[in-house]
Symmetry: none
Subunit: 221 residues, 2 copies
Amino acid sequence: MRILLVEDDPLVSDAIVRGLATAGYVVDAVGDAESVQGRLDTTHYDLAIVDLGLPGEDGFTLVRRLRRDGSSLPLLIVTARDGLDDRVNALDLGADDYLVKPFALPELAARCRALIRRATAATANEMVVGRLRIDLAGRRAIDDTGRVLELTRREWSILECLAHHSGRVVSKERLIQAIVSWDEEISGNAIEVHVSRLRAKLGDAATVRGIRGLGYRLDDA
Amino acid sequence: MRILLVEDDPLVSDAIVRGLATAGYVVDAVGDAESVQGRLDTTHYDLAIVDLGLPGEDGFTLVRRLRRDGSSLPLLIVTARDGLDDRVNALDLGADDYLVKPFALPELAARCRALIRRATAATANEMVVGRLRIDLAGRRAIDDTGRVLELTRREWSILECLAHHSGRVVSKERLIQAIVSWDEEISGNAIEVHVSRLRAKLGDAATVRGIRGLGYRLDDA
DNA sequence: GTATGCGAAATCCTGCCGCAAGGCTGGGCG
DNA sequence: CGCCCAGCCTTGCGGCAGGATTTCGCATAC
């Protein structure tokens, strides 16, 4: 799961990136609203976190512009401005949530989970695919026998992404974007390697099917 | 837009009902968690607002129960408990937002708007031809029996193109342009081959009729 | 130092693709 | 009415793109 952070204060930005990375997200940070479009053009994001007080175009304008252009990207506003009008305005412009600084990182992570969950039509943080229980908050997968699968970070990220689109085809490109941040570059083969290892660990609890030329799909069987 | 409010304090409940009514919502209020299921069984709601401190079954339990039963109703928690753990727990159980009392009615209304907007935006992009459901976003076709058709890239492209002009004749030339990338060249026979294989997979869920000298047409029968 | 995760490279292998050949069909024409 | 032929349908097959798997070296953490 990949998040775009728009925050001009390097200290705050760094803290958020660090915290969300611990929570298992891939986070790309930009310092101003003007850089956002370029990022969105090239990469799929599951959520954007926007600070209102930006140099140049401010957060309000950014939110309005994104929504006017038809983007359905979930938007979480994070700011020091806690006026009632600010909150109502941001939400009515098209933001999905509004969190006032200072906030605790666990709450930010929880709200991210809730927004991403809702955007992918999931309801709770535990989903069942085949004979597999997938605990999104706990970042672990559990067998039907109760055995916890020992998944590495990448393996989990791929499983999570596939589970969010269970039964549907997820392109290899998208899986790459789900597990690495923008600056690092990996070959498409890396996905094949991780999927292969994931399959071995899944056993017959769930099936990751490769759809030639399209991507992968997590099947209920 | 119809909202279900679960709140035991009559004063608070009344104030919220009044405020949201002003904002244009139809609000039904109940005083305990036990009354919720009955309401949901008889009426469609776009959102539920739940107080955590309820007599009898509390809000947490209610949220957990609703999600476990598969409900996808957007849930907004409104409570006086503002501990970090409460917030994270509620969100992770399946709530979509968490607002701490005391709050301003305009903000509640704004968050309701945001949640309902997001929930109704999830419009499945699919079309139905004959006994076939064609999921454009998921790049897959589903039988009336629920069976997912295993289509190759070319087969899917042809079906998509035909479905897009359902009931009308599509020329072979156009189908060629739909499946090959721009400059590469294939014989017209290739289309015939793919159509043949597509027909075999479609079974009797839909009919691809060949119109001599003109092209192909996807029929509802 | 040891263990583990990660990804590039190399190799194996599956199954898609398009051609070709032969059967089938419908319309034109005497 | 029956023949002919163009155009469509189907099947088999070789070629090959690209996914699957294994191996191995590097980096990081403990």
